[in-house]
Amino acid sequence: MSEPRSELILDRLIHEPGRLAILTVLSSVRDADFVFLQRTTGLTKGNLSSHLTKLEAAGLVAIEKKFVHKKPNTNVALTAAGKQRIARHWDQLERLKTLSESSGQQ
């Protein structure tokens, strides 16, 4: 069995559906808060919190905690590395899709 081509190996940290959803939403905004991410991804509070902690530890998102109208507010933004990794990941998925379509036609 041949080795998989390195450019097609998926980033396991990002490929998890919850984290992929979070990073995809964040790639279309400058920053967003916890509630907006909960709404758009449909993740539970605990799941979202856990995924964000992992993404922050990997340096893909920056988290800022502040108070808005005396209520705690968690704001999240992609880091430069995060922007690069999510764009590359979607490119890889597109390439895999194209590859599987072309091999299906043969």
Partner: protein
């Protein structure tokens, strides 16, 4: 994984907060009634008070959306699109309405309702650039456009009727936008919206 749906969430969030259109619609209607000097609106101080009340309503509605659906800062790309929509809107409102019907020597002086036509065009262009036209945008603003463009507005100044039409259309379109917003992001109290301790 619905990539396009997730990527469009920010644009949908910014454009479909339809309840924010209600104070604007009320103001347009009040502007028309003030021009006609109807009831208490004949007093010059009433309209600024109405503007202040509409502003307070707008802030309260913004807070409702922020607390139930979250906050975001749009991307630079989205901000450029919004700025482009504003520039086009100003050009249509200023140039278009003067060209269609005004006291200017170069005006075509058509028997149309320039306010209704301009407003409908602005809204259609703005939605098309920002979030893509939905069926209710085409129906509501298309109807205002057609009504304004019919050559039946030969009365001296149909601007106030145009403002009334625009005000009602803004509110109706806003209600439909909000329905679509709730359909996209869920009902207000369906999530446990307490803040997390992430990053603590």
């Amino acid at each position: 994984m619905q990539r396009k749906t997730l990527e469009k969430a920010a644009a949908n969030y910014s454009y479909l907060r339809g309840l924010l259109a209600i104070p604007l619609g009320v103001l347009l209607i009040l502007a028309a009634l003030a021009n006609w000097e109807v009831g208490p609106l004949r007093h010059i101080w009433v309209f600024p008070v109405a503007v202040a009340m509409a502003g307070a309503g707008w802030l309260a509605i913004t807070r409702y959306y922020n607390e139930n659906y979250g906050r975001l800062s749009p991307s630079t790309k989205q901000q450029v699109r919004s700025a482009l929509a504003v520039v086009i809107a100003l050009a249509v409102m200023g140039g278009g309405s003067l060209l269609m019907r005004s006291d200017a020597a170069w005006s075509l002086d058509l028997p149309v309702n320039a306010i209704a036509v301009s407003f409908a065009l602005i809204m259609l262009i703005s939605y098309a650039i920002g979030v893509g036209l939905k069926a209710h945008h085409v129906i509501i603003w298309g109807a205002v456009l057609v009504a304004g463009a019919l050559p039946v507005w030969s009365s001296p100044d149909p601007s106030n009727i145009g403002l009334l039409l625009a005000g009602v259309a803004v509110m109706v379109s806003g209600v439909f936008d909000h329905r679509l917003f709730v359909h996209t992001f869920g009902a207000p109290k369906t999530l446990d919206l307490e803040e997390s301790d992430v990053g603590a």
